[in-house]
Symmetry: C2
Subunit: 209 residues, 2 copies
């Protein structure tokens, strides 16, 4: 019943585009509306506030990241190492193309919003926390399997290792954005593999600690 439209989707996509390349507080409702070709009244017909738009935008980029990156990579029949390498290569390519068309390496939409808003908006912080947890689970499952297959040493702690990998990836992207240089991801990418070696093995190998 009643009329239908794609205004809501347009607004969400505009939020992903604009907030993604600048920041939450640097983009106003007005600009969001202009970019989406929509009047402000329509905005508030679909969203109670800019914050709620952002929450839905986070849902969408997480869904897309799963569908376009995590699922294809981790459901493939490639080797464990190839999976990590593919994930890193896709991140590099994504950031590179962002820089080509905006002039800037825009970084990770989750990390960006997390650092900007975690202390100010508990709902957004919590949503990104959950996203990082789910992302970690993808990695954890691969690590568990790699240990079973003997690719990773038996003492590997999959939960700790996967969390460390997400931290390291976010840190890589943070440095890449700071240097405005996607090549930073190439330089740092190999470090991800080092986090796969369990702490105790590291200690034994070189008697550190």
């Amino acid at each position: 019943m009643g009329r239908t439209s794609d205004t809501k989707e347009n607004l969400i996509n505009s939020a992903i585009e604009l907030i993604g390349t600048r920041s939450y507080n640097a983009v106003g409702v007005q600009e969001l509306c202009e970019h989406a070709g929509v009047k402000k009244g329509s905005f508030y017909h679909f969203f109670p506030s800019k914050r709620d738009l952002t929450l839905e935008a986070l849902d969408l980029i997480w869904k897309k990241f799963k569908e376009e990156t995590l699922d294809p990579v981790f459901n493939s029949d490639a080797s464990t190492l190839d999976k990590f390498e593919t994930l890193l290569r896709m991140s590099y390519e994504h950031q590179s193309s962002r820089k080509d068309c905006t002039g800037c390496m825009t970084g990770c939409g989750f990390g960006n919003l997390a650092l900007e808003l975690s202390t100010q908006d508990e709902g957004i912080r919590k949503k990104i926390e959950v996203i990082f947890c789910e992302w970690t689970k993808y990695l954890e499952m691969v690590i568990i399997q790699a240990v079973k297959e003997g690719v990773f040493p038996p003492k590997t702690d999959p939960a700790a290792t996967s969390l460390a990998m997400v931290a390291y990836i976010e840190g890589m992207i943070l440095l890449g954005k700071t240097f405005n240089d996607p090549y930073m991801l190439k330089r740092l990418g190999e470090g991800v593999l080092q986090l796969c070696i369990s702490r105790t093995d590291t200690a034994e190998a070189y008697s550190v600690g």
Copy 2:
């Protein structure tokens, strides 16, 4: 000649406090002035813009970070591993106390501003890039020495390793802020050491790659 005052210092400290716990765009000139007990006219007597205040605030927190943390830790006669452990412990303690008094883990002032402003303000981005480079140099020197002493394997690449460590530390803090849990730094801290092992050694040890 003329009158003296500590208004400028007060404004810089207010910026560190307010922008540090919220974000650049979430804090206005007015609030900065109120917090510093200063009228807006005085603000613009000392700073051409909020952006310029922020640039000076970055200088100060970097200076303090060096004086209070990097210099004492890395000029001590502790072992290499102890130095890293001390650095991590101090980060944990700092973030913990921030959470105790503000309710939030506020994260790294450099990382926060880098992600919020890198795509929007080239001057601020560049300043943080330089800071990360200098920070990396501190770590690099320690790593070079550790290789000499045989604590780290000879194939270690000090430049690559130190950069990876900064990335990992920033990623740890990012996750900690997202989870609003300083304990994340404890959980992830040990991973820093794994980045000290050179890629090739990792590959040899477990035939990965």
